[in-house]
């Protein structure tokens, strides 16, 4: 046509139907009167077949009486061009059709995005809800365990200190108290394991939600100001991690950071999706060339010199240096990160500070179902 359209032709309706599946046209131009199936029938068949799909049908016709045209529109045509057809009018009507098709595509895309946004919002809401439940049960469990410690402890102490009182009746009463106490304790354990979804690794769609929680919890432990800078601007892919392990690593890194700053300075937690990382893992030295979800803990403390940096992940290093504030639990961090297929990068400048970058592999689709823990699916 010379107007930038991709065109396929067919000699009759049957051939047109055959070509439909391979060509997927958005606009169909068809004559009304043809041998075999006519244009109106073709229209009807296409409307049935292409139900819900985009297809703009223009009928070429010399039947331009009112009744005929009404019949054509009822059969499913979108527009008609009266014969004789001139190139200018043909192009103008095709362009009008293309405009409508484009609009329809945009509407469809917006609808799909809307659905996706709603799904994300729901997922965030569910994560928040699970977190709130976890927090609530955590708080209840904490208080219950304190009360139970007193109940069970005093009962046990009484039995030990005053055996055989009242012909052994006191023993029996105390035993009942203890039994009920133990049952209550087990209930707390199961309540908590339900709420925290003890499932080993589970897919974390929004580590940011979790980080918020960790930072809140870190505050009383930190005298230095702690700043959370989770990057929510871009979508962060899911990673397969164990929540407790993340917590333990961040805690170790933050305690180290705090010691490195002598309690004064900023600790920054940053979460981002980093593409095309090319570097050598600081702890296992493997050469990396991949995309990762990066969780970093940085400080503006005294920093680590290159010589020491070499040894911080050594399992014996922390033992030697306990109380010195460096290397606390870093062998654990090394173990956890490599256990989940991740790596660690450390940037450090003496006198300026350190940045510990935990690199998590992005969870693939196939890991998605396998890794969904009760915390996320409930």
């Amino acid at each position: 046509m010379g107007a930038g359209y991709l065109v396929e032709t067919a000699e009759n309706a049957a051939q047109a139907l055959e070509k439909m599946d391979a060509f997927h046209p958005e606009i169909v131009l068809t004559d009304w009167v043809m041998d075999g199936m006519d244009g109106l029938e073709l229209c009807q068949v296409l409307r049935q077949r292409k139900n819900g799909q985009l297809l703009y049908i223009i009928l070429l016709t010399s039947h331009d009486a009112e009744d005929s045209l009404v019949k054509a529109f009822e059969a499913g045509t979108d527009d008609y061009i009266p014969k004789p057809v001139t190139p200018r009018i043909l192009l103008a009507r095709v362009q009008a059709g293309a405009r409508l098709v484009r609009l329809q595509i945009e509407v469809e895309q917006a609808r799909r995005e809307q659905v996706e946004r709603a799904r994300m919002a729901q997922q965030i809401q569910r994560a928040h809800k699970m977190q709130a439940i976890g927090k609530l049960t955590g708080g209840i469990a904490h208080n219950f365990n304190n009360h139970l410690a007193a109940i069970l402890g005093y009962a046990e102490l009484a039995r030990e200190m005053f055996p055989g009182v009242g012909d052994g009746q006191l023993d029996e009463f105390l035993e009942n108290i203890q039994q009920a106490g133990v049952e209550a304790r087990d209930l707390v354990v199961s309540l908590r394991s339900f709420s925290s979804g003890e499932s080993g690794s589970c897919k974390i769609p929004l580590m940011g939600v979790m980080l918020d929680d960790i930072v809140r919890m870190l505050q009383p432990v930190m005298t230095a100001s702690t700043v959370l800078e989770a990057n929510f601007g871009q979508e962060i892919p899911q990673v397969l991690v164990n929540q407790d392990q993340i917590y333990q690593m961040i805690m170790s890194l933050c305690i180290n950071a705090r010691e490195a700053m002598d309690g004064k300075g900023d600790i920054c937690l940053h979460l981002q999706y980093v593409r095309d990382v090319r570097a050598s893992c600081t702890s296992c030295h493997e050469w990396l060339n991949d995309d990762f979800v990066e969780l970093s803990v940085s400080d503006n403390g005294r920093g680590i010199d290159a010589e020491t940096l070499h040894r911080v992940f050594d399992p014996f290093f922390s033992n030697k240096e306990v109380g010195q504030g460096t290397g606390l639990g870093l062998s654990v961090v090394h173990g956890i990160m490599h256990g989940c297929g991740g790596h660690i990068l450390v940037d450090s400048d003496v006198g300026k500070g350190s940045n510990f970058r935990l690199l998590f592999p992005v969870a693939g689709e196939e890991m998605e179902n396998a890794g969904t823990g009760p915390a996320m699916s409930a």
Binding site: G134, K135, T137, G138, G139, A141, H142, N143, F144, N145, N146, L148, A149, A150, I151, L152, G153, Y154, E156, L157, E160, M161, G181, R185, R192, S195, S196, D213, I214, R216, M217, P220, V221, T223, D244, Y247, Q248, M251, S252, I255, V322, G323, L328, G329
Partner: protein
């Protein structure tokens, strides 16, 4: 027959520990938060510190971190109901991380406490 400092914000728990430890002939000192705990540790130099973690004023982790700096070979047994009141996270592993020899989840039995205390006291430690 050791000198033991017990730090917990719950009077009932402190009372229980005092009783349990006195039965074992230990000398027990009490404190009800991290600030008081630190002061009493410096004043009395006990052989062992048994401390709760979630407490007002100053929490147990903070107190441990401070004391560990001053007394590197301090002997500590940490006790906690787990999952702080502010969240579902557990402070006990952190106590271990910052230097507690033993951690006990509340509620614990008399026997668990006795063996944790005995083991901690058996661990070499200078004052």
């Amino acid at each position: 027959m050791a000198k033991i400092l017990v730090v917990d914000d719950e009077a009932q728990i402190r009372g229980l520990l005092v009783k349990m430890l006195s039965v074992e002939q230990h000398e027990v000192i009490e404190a009800e938060n991290g600030t008081q705990g630190g002061e009493k540790y410096r004043a009395h130099r006990p052989d062992l510190l048994i401390t709760d973690l979630v407490m007002p004023e100053k929490n147990g982790i903070d107190m441990i971190l401070e004391l560990k700096k001053e007394f590197p070979s301090i002997r500590i047994v940490a006790i906690s109901g787990g999952g702080g009141i502010t969240g579902s996270f557990d402070y006990l592993p952190i106590a271990k991380l910052v230097g507690a020899l033993h951690i006990l989840q509340k509620p614990f039995s008399l026997q668990e406490l006795k063996s944790a205390v005995a083991e901690a006291l058996g661990t070499p430690g200078a004052r």
